[in-house]
């Protein structure tokens, strides 16, 4: 079959595959509502590999819903959402996406160490589906190296991390400057430290896309600055950053591109153009303005 004869789904997938130069996130005419009234309406948006994109908007503007649509956690009522070139709802390469929320559900009271949280990033790599299979197949491998094969199989079935996995976990902790806290309970950390740990979890998963949903809510000002410095450094290292944020000052200072949302897209362009546009007033209301040093 020639290239022209491939089916439309395959062509669309190839066109939006980041490894083939396509976008990481691709929303096309997406509409979604929890009731008959849409929360997000006819939104088209693409995020390319290596970009640092911030989505801003007033409370209830549909930012978090848009993020859930992008990640395939919600299915659009109309339009299409694609992640790494695949239908977002069927995307099964979860380790490529690192997710950082405002707060983890059980973080406060749960007896879990920083290292245990970061190790979750490796879980997709040690799942039962990743049973060892060399070029000669499992049977050949079993005859060649019975003890090693048995050990690797037992690791895969029981979900135990290998020494290499633990090295990646420790490297991720070092990257975010949290090695000294590795054996601390996560509930004993400050908000800013906790968010660093969640970024380390994404790094341990070797994520290509980092999605953050208002990550600095409840974090002190000094930690917020350090947190954004970390995001800048990770983006400079090649990781695509998609930030849902309410702090307009920080967004304009750090992101390359701003998407202003209030049910529909009011602005999509470079951060400095956003400051000079009237999108802020239209989306947030006439009284909205930037404050020096962050905040709206």
């Amino acid at each position: 079959m020639s290239a022209n004869e491939t089916d439309p789904a395959t062509r669309a997938s190839a066109a939006s595959d980041p490894e083939a130069g396509g976008p990481v996130v691709d929303l096309s005419g997406v509409t979604f509502g929890y009731t008959a009234t849409p929360v997000v309406e006819d939104v088209s948006l693409t995020v390319d590999s290596g970009e640092y994109v911030a989505v801003v908007g007033p409370n209830g503007s549909g930012k978090s819903t848009l993020m859930r649509l992008m990640l395939g956690l919600l299915a659009p009522d109309a339009g299409a959402a694609r992640l790494f070139g695949e239908d977002a709802a069927r995307f099964d390469d979860g380790e490529r996406v690192g997710y950082v929320a405002q707060q983890a559900t059980a973080a406060e009271e749960m007896p879990i160490t920083v290292r245990e949280v970061v190790k979750m990033g490796r879980f997709p790599y040690v799942a039962v589906g990743n049973l060892p299979a060399g070029s000669g197949g499992v049977v050949d491998e079993l005859f060649d190296d019975p003890v090693g094969t048995a050990r690797r199989t037992a690791n895969a079935v029981s979900g135990r991390l290998t020494a290499a996995d633990w090295r990646i976990v420790d490297d991720a902790l070092a990257t975010v400057g949290m090695s000294a806290f590795a054996d601390r309970r996560i509930g004993q950390l400050s908000g800013g430290q906790r968010q660093r740990v969640f970024i380390a979890r994404a790094l341990a998963g070797e994520a290509d896309l980092l999605v953050l949903d208002e990550p600095t809510v409840g974090v002190d000002a000094e930690s917020v600055d350090a947190f954004y410095d970390l995001l800048d450094a990770l983006n400079a290292a090649g990781i695509t950053v998609l930030l849902i944020e309410h702090d307009l000052g920080a967004v304009v200072e750090h992101a390359d591109r701003v998407v202003c949302l209030n049910r529909e897209v009011y602005f999509d362009g470079p951060a400095d153009e956003f400051v000079e546009s009237d999108a802020l007033a239209r989306a947030f209301g006439a009284g909205a303005r930037f404050l020096a040093g962050g905040g709206e």
């Binding site: 380790e95 749960m110 979750m120 079935v157 990257t175 290509d208 410095d229 990770l234 090649g238």
Partner: protein, 361 residues
């Protein structure tokens, strides 16, 4: 051969083949069931042998070979001490501590169904088996109500708890006479009613529960800690939630023999609450909660035997006493930890590779 005759012959052959297949399947299932149960009873025999030696070495009266029911009670207690906190650790940290109570009440309905069927149609089925089935169906209903109605988890638990208890009391009241007397042992638990069959059922539940947790503990941990991040990483959150509630139903029915319907939920919660106070890591909390639960179970069974009191109540009281001690130790640990706060390191992104095109795996 005429067509109608061919059709009739084909129909006869098809029916005969179906009947043979059904009989073979039924025979196969019965055979497998008998083999599994035989193996479990063999394990029970080995346990008797071990307890006989323990009696010989320690002289403990409650392990005397004459009291096989006590030897079985100790085995069942030890199994409960492992599987209840194992599941309870995930439940407590998902703020589902009371789901055990809800499922215990539906298990009571299951017991009533078993007793009812035995009394009315002489089915001869163990009430624990019907309890397992009803509790697992109820567990799925709790998840179904939460998923389809957006109700809070405690609302779906309250609905299932009330329905289960209402069904149980209704069935018992319909079948007037001896049923109510038989129900008491399930409500309050008893050491002396652990039959070889119910010990066998518990051993089977133990293997299923421990095996399932061993294989799925990463996914269960991720879903417990951060449901959205788990979903983003590709874990089917709804599926693992269902696995969790089904395992809970099994634990509840298994523990019901000694603990009784009313107190069974305590074994899922109290040892875990104690372990949470003193443990730093999740793995440590799993191990500590099992140790605390075993301590409560063994002390409780001992006190119940020598004191002539109800085992379930004593086990829970001992567990609560251990929890109070753990709270004290936990507070001391917190003070010590606060005095040893490490310095945060600097950010190092030299080794980070985020280019999608550069991935090697």
């Amino acid at each position: 051969m005429s067509d109608p005759l061919t059709a009739a012959l084909a129909a006869w052959l098809f029916t005969a083949a179906n009947q043979s297949a059904a009989l073979a399947l039924q025979g196969g299932l019965v055979g497998v069931g008998e083999t599994v149960f035989g193996a479990l009873l063999w394990v029970l025999d080995q346990w008797y042998w071990l307890m006989d030696w323990a009696h010989y070495l320690t002289g403990l009266e409650m392990l005397n070979p004459r009291y096989r029911y006590m030897q079985r009670a100790v085995l069942v207690g030890l199994c409960i001490g492992v599987m209840a906190p194992l599941i309870g650790t995930f439940l407590v940290h998902r703020q589902l501590a009371l789901i055990g109570d809800a499922l215990a009440h539906t298990a009571f309905a299951g017991v009533a169904v078993g007793l009812f069927l035995n009394a009315v149609i002489d089915l001869g089925v163990s009430p624990y088996l019907t309890a397992v089935v009803v509790a697992m169906i109820a567990a799925l209903f709790i998840e179904l109500i939460s998923e389809t109605t957006d109700a809070y988890n405690d609302v779906s638990m309250a609905i299932v708890l009330s329905t289960g208890f209402a069904l149980g009391t209704t069935l018992i009241s319909i079948n007037a006479g001896g049923l109510a007397v038989g129900v008491n042992q399930f409500l309050f638990g008893s050491l002396s009613t652990v039959s070889p069959q119910s010990a066998g059922i518990l051993l089977a539940l133990f293997v299923v529960i421990v095996g399932t947790v061993a294989v799925t503990r990463n996914q269960l941990l991720y879903v417990t800690f951060d449901e959205t991040a788990a979903a983003v990483s590709g874990i089917s959150v709804n599926w693992y939630n269902r696995v969790m509630v089904m395992l809970t139903a099994m634990v509840v029915v298994g523990a019901m023999q000694i603990m009784g319907v009313i107190l069974v939920a305590a074994m899922l919660v109290v040892p875990v609450a104690g372990a949470t106070q003193v443990s730093r890591s999740f793995t440590e909390s799993l191990v500590v909660s099992v140790v605390l639960a075993e301590l409560a179970v063994l002390l409780g069974i001992g006190v119940a035997y020598y004191g002539g009191v109800t085992a379930g109540g004593v086990i829970v009281l001992v567990a609560v006493g251990i929890y109070v001690c753990a709270v004290g130790v936990g507070k001391l640990q917190s003070v010590r930890d606060e005095a040893e706060t490490p310095e945060m390191g600097s950010i190092e992104t030299d080794g980070v590779e985020g280019d999608a095109g550069a991935r090697g795996d």
